[in-house]
C-alpha cells in the first residue's frame, strides 16, 4: 500500500444515544482518491465529517476512538480544531458559495488567516481558480456575485475556495450529486488532476462514479465498514456477499 495519510483506529460515533459509526478502522493512502460508498443512512457522510471534525457543530454528537493524521490524533483534547480544518479542506454536497464576489469567495480562506498583502491574495486566487479549472470561465468577472455562476461552476468555485488555504487533504461529500452529466464529468476530471497534490476522500452515491474515479473503495453499511480494498477488486471480486449485492444493484 502507498504512504498512509489518515489512520482510523476503532472509531465510534454517536448522535445523542444512537451509535451511527461502529468501530471503524482503516488506512487512507496519500495522494490517492478513496471512495466511500454505501446506501443512504449508512454513516458515510458522518464518517467524512469526522475527518475534519465538522460534526462538532452538531448538538449531542460524541466521538470515540482515534483518527490520526500525520501522526497526530485529531480527537486529542489539546488539538487545535481550527488548525485541523485548515489542513483538511471540505467540499459539500450542495455548492455553498458565500454571498460575495467570486474573488472574495476564494480570498476568504486567506483573509481569515490574516493575509493582507493584496498581491499575494490575487496570486493565490488565480492559482486556486486555475487548479479548480474555473479560471478561464471567470477571469473577466471576478467581481461578480458568485450566485451568478451555474451550478457546476459554483461547485468548482467551492473547490477553488477550499484549495486556496492549501490543505493537504480534501474531503468531498457527493460533490457532483446535484450536477448535470457534463458538469459532473468536469468535476471528475478535476479530481484526477487534484490527487497529484492532495489526498482525496470522496463520498458518493453513484457506484459508476466510484468505479471511475477512486483508487480505493470502502463500502459502508449500517454504520459498519463492510469491505475496503483496491477499487477494481471491490467491483470485480468482492470478498463479501453483501458488497456484491450492493454493487450489482440488488439493494440500496
Amino acid at each position: 500500500m502507498d504512504n498512509c495519510k489518515i489512520t482510523v483506529h476503532n472509531f465510534n460515533f454517536y448522535y445523542g444515544g444512537v451509535k451511527v459509526l461502529k468501530n471503524i478502522s482503516m488506512e487512507i493512502p496519500e495522494n490517492r482518491v478513496t471512495g466511500i460508498i454505501g446506501p443512504s443512512g449508512c454513516g458515510k457522510s458522518t464518517f467524512l465529517r469526522s475527518i475534519n471534525r465538522m460534526n462538532d457543530t452538531i448538538l449531542g454528537a460524541r466521538a470515540e476512538g482515534r483518527i490520526v493524521i500525520d501522526g497526530r490524533n485529531i480527537y486529542d483534547d489539546d488539538i487545535d480544531v481550527v488548525g485541523v480544518r485548515r489542513k483538511v479542506g471540505m467540499v459539500f454536497q450542495k455548492s455553498n458559495p458565500f454571498p460575495k464576489s467570486i474573488f472574495e469567495n476564494v480570498a476568504y480562506g486567506l483573509r481569515i488567516n490574516g493575509e493582507k498583502d493584496r498581491y499575494r491574495i490575487e496570486e493565490a486566487v488565480e492559482k486556486s481558480l486555475k487548479d479548480a479549472a474555473l479560471w478561464d470561465e471567470v477571469k473577466d468577472r471576478l467581481n461578480k456575485n458568485a450566485f451568478e455562476l451555474s451550478g457546476g461552476q459554483q461547485q468548482r468555485l467551492c473547490i477553488a475556495r477550499a484549495l486556496a488555504v492549501e490543505p493537504e487533504i480534501l474531503l468531498m461529500d457527493e460533490p457532483a450529486s446535484a450536477l448535470d452529466p457534463t458538469a459532473t464529468l468536469k468535476i471528475e476530471e478535476l479530481i484526477q488532476e487534484l490527487k497529484k497534490k492532495y489526498t482525496i476522500v470522496i463520498v458518493t452515491h453513484n457506484m459508476q462514479q466510484a468505479a471511475r474515479i477512486s483508487d480505493f473503495t470502502a463500502f459502508f453499511m449500517l454504520g459498519e465498514l463492510i469491505e475496503y480494498n483496491i477499487t477494481s477488486i471491490i467491483f470485480t471480486k468482492p470478498s463479501r456477499k453483501i458488497t456484491e449485492d450492493y454493487i450489482t444493484g440488488r439493494f440500496g
Partner: protein
Amino acid sequence: MAYSRIKENTIHGLFFFNGVLVIVVLVGIFVLLITKSMPAFKEISLLHFLFSFKWNPTASFVEPSYGIWSMIVSTFMVSIGALFIALPLGVGTAAYLSDVASYRVREIFKPLVEILAGIPSVVIGFLGIVLVGPVIAKIFRLSNGLNALNGAILLAIMALPTIISLSEEALKGVPKSFEEASLALGATKWQTLTRVKIPAALSGIIAASMLGMGRAIGETMTVLMATGCALAMPKSFLDSVQTMTATIAIELGEVPYDTTHYYALFAIGLVLFIITFVINMISDIILHKYQRVIK
C-alpha cells in the same frame, strides 16, 4: 356542494374585507391629516413651516411664528442617537442569542426581551427622570439631566427588542451551509460570525434598525418626560429639546379649535407621518432585496 361554495366565498370575502380595512384606515388617516393641516398653509408658507426654527404660536405682542425646524432636528437627534446606542447592543445581543447562547439561556433570554417590549413608555419616561437624568447630570456636571442624550438612551431601550428580535431572525435565516463552509475553511466562530453571517444578514439587520427607528421617531410620552421640553435649536446632545411628537401632545389639548395653531399641529403630524412612512418603506424594500438574494 352549493353550501360549501357559499361558505368558501363568505370566508374569502371576510378576509378580503379585513385586508381592505387596513388600507382604508391608512388612507383615511392620511386624508384626515392632509385636510386638517391644509388650512394652516393659508397663513404659513411651507418653507417657513419646515425650516424656520422659531415656534411661538401664542405670541401676543409680536406676530406668531410656526417654524418646526428645531423640532425636526430634535426628533432626528434623539432617534438617530437612540439608533447609535441600540444598534451595537442589539446586534451583539442577537448574535449572542443565535450563535453563542446555549438552548436554555436562549429560552430564558428571549421572553425577557419580549417583556422589555411590553413596558409602557410612561414607565420608561419615569426611569429617565429618576435614574438616567440624575446620572447624566452627575457625569456631565449639569443642573439637570433632561436632555437629548437622556431621550436617546431611553428610546434605545425601547428600540432594542425590535432590533434584537429581527436581527436574531435575520442571523438565523442565514443558511447553515454558509456557516459550515466558513468553519470548514478553518475560520473561528468569531470570524464566521463577523465575516459571513452578519454580512449575509446585513439587510435584515438594517431593516430591523429602520423599524426600530421608525418606532423611536413616533414615540411621544418618553421623550416628553425625559428631554426637558425646550423649544430651541439644540446645539449638542446635552441640550434640552422638544420633539415633534411632544409638541403635539403638549399643545393639542389646549389649543383653540379652528385656529392656525390648531391646524399647524396637524401639519406637524403630517410631517411625522410622512417621515415614518418613508422609513418603513425603505426598510421594507431592503428586506425584500435581502430575501431575494438568499434564495
